[in-house]
Amino acid sequence: MTIRTAALRLLPVWAVLFALLLGMFFVLLAGAHPIEAYRDLLRGAFADVFGFATTLVKTTPLLFAGLGVAVALRAGLINIGAEGQIYLGGLAAALVGLYVRGLPPLLHVPLALLAAFVAGGAWALLPALLRLRRGVSEVITTLLMNYIGLYLVGALVSGPLKEPGAPYPFSPPLARSAYLPTIIPTTDAHAGILIALVLAVVTYVVLEHTPIGFRVRMVGANPPAAAYAGINVGQTVTLAMIVSGGLAGLGGASEVMGLKHRLFDAFSPGYGYDAIVVAFLGAGQPLGVAVTAFFFGALRSGANIMQRSQGVPVAVIFAIQGLAVLFLAASLAVRHRIFRWGGRSRQPAAASPVQAAGVTDPE
């Protein structure tokens, strides 16, 4: 790895730093001191065991869903539907947790997770089929299905799944045997983060070191060449989308089984949309996604403390995330241009989402 490629690898870091710098301007607007606000943000995310536990809790769904978006990205698909897939995964896990009774945790938990994976995958399958069969861009269909998933869960917890007499729309608690265990006593931190980390490693190994992963990357990099090489592009795209949705679905399941223990209306505060940022800034690499998810989990966790102590609304971190994406997209495009001028690359800048996301094979 030359110095130049190392510098390019760090582009996401620069984008985030630049966005944080601009974020200071918003902090000032809110009438707070930027340095103090960021200090409180850091403290909130890491200073004590509760802050750190909250950081882990917020990292978990971002990591699951971010891995999902990354898998699709590597296959050349933009899955903006992680939010909807999170809802479907949460719903499936809740159904298994509510209605399957009498199983030991060692069976109940995997069963609920499996159901969530299947439900999330099914939610992503429709956009994949529409793209392959009817040529409809998965960008629009996954976006629309986010809202359908959100309202579907809302309708169910307001109707058939509603706890009788509950003041808000939520379901009765799941069976204890479907709870994900707590990993730091007296905090909310649950085993979902461990499952997510294991899956990050598994996704890395499968993508980089197995024939299936090679097919996915080949289809993402150059579909015509992949087809010429005898790879079934449609099948690979479908598989990648199902796995992508399934991973996001597990994010929903871990929220329900590890944190809330009930199915709530609108239980995801936009984790599925943040997951796009996470996957993109993580350059579609599972390990990069893990680092980015942790970073944004910390931001979300610390921002709550910053809101309380400095009066800076949490919304500021969404603006910062948006800016980071814009900076990275811009810098990647400029990078392609520089390469082109240098005669290194003949490809049009950012022609495919994979190239646009700066996804490169780690050679």
């Binding site: 629009i140 629309l144 359908i148 309708a155 949309y273 919304a315 811009a330």
Partner: protein, 293 residues
């Protein structure tokens, strides 16, 4: 009901016809809704608010154009970034500016008196929010259609989306055409947003567009990249939204989410059924680069 989606969809048509997919419509609408409310409060009245929304939407359009046209950044990723930024930014401004100042209701558009229309049985009571912006939307559609199909500028815009190299060869700047189209697209989306905060309601609330910009993207496809078609498609989605209010007001005992889902399900069903016959502009999504010297 159909107006905000229709305005944004017509914006989407302009942008996509010039070769730029504008996923950022949602964020531009949301920013327009905020700018509309603030403009109406601080600058004096809903028309000034609408103007502010147009400017705010166009400004975001210029940002999108700079990133995707000048720098050649990926259009989808950039659009997603704009939506995220707009959601965070507008929520932030609502919390630190509007709320502390106690700004809740802002001056909004008066309902048009249309006694004839309201007398129509069943449909009449659904024609709520009949504000001047509805008429503006209905007037803009044919004007845009004439512009696109009957003027040399319209031809240049359509050609830019199909064969930018040819446009460049003819001495027309592809960059300039795309900048103007995307800025206009943002302005129209912004006006759609202003309709929400100044026509349908008289205030800005967090994430008040709730995905209408994405439905507008579906309306662009369903309307086959034609402004009149896009507005007609928006009426279909608007009708689904109106039906939702109808179901709710008659209290049929179903959770409100079921009818709320309707426009999204309809958009998806329509895309699944219709798109094989609709072909987007050939150069959509591809950044244009001039030949190397």
């Amino acid at each position: 009901m159909a107006t905000p989606i229709g305005l944004a969809a017509m914006g989407g048509v302009l942008s996509e016809r010039s070769g730029v997919l504008n996923i950022g419509l949602e964020g531009m609408m949301l920013t327009g809704a905020l700018a509309g409310a603030m403009g109406s409060h601080f600058l004096g009245g809903p028309w000034m608010g609408t103007l502010a929304a147009l400017v705010a939407g166009a400004a975001l359009g210029v940002v999108l154009a700079y990133l995707t046209v000048t720098l050649g950044a990926n259009q989808i990723v950039t659009g997603v970034g704009i939506n995220l930024f707009a959601l965070g930014f507008t929520t932030f401004v609502e919390r630190v500016v509007l709320r502390p100042a106690g700004i809740e209701a802002v001056p909004s558009f008066a309902q048009l008196a249309a006694p004839g229309l309201r007398a129509i049985p069943l449909l009449g009571p659904l024609l709520t929010n009949l504000t001047p912006l509805v008429l503006v939307a209905i007037v803009i559609a044919p004007i845009l259609a004439v512009f696109l199909y009957r003027t040399p500028w319209g031809l240049a815009l359509r050609a830019t989306g199909e064969a930018p190299r040819a446009v460049d060869t003819a001495g027309v700047s592809v960059f300039l055409v795309r900048y103007i189209a995307v800025a206009a697209s943002g302005a129209l989306a912004g006006m759609g947003g202003a309709f929400l905060s100044l026509g349908q309601l008289n205030l800005f609330s967090e994430n008040m567009t709730a995905g209408r910009g994405f439905i507008a993207l579906a309306a662009v496809i369903l309307g086959k990249w034609n402004p009149v078609g896009a507005l007609a498609a928006a009426f279909l989605f608007g009708a689904a939204e109106a039906l939702q209010l109808f179901v709710q007001s008659y209290g049929l005992g179903v959770p409100y989410q079921i009818p709320t889902m309707l426009p999204y399900v309809l958009a998806l069903a329509v895309l699944a059924g219709f798109v094989s016959r609709a072909i987007p502009p050939a150069a959509e999504g591809i950044p244009y680069q001039q030949e190397e010297q």
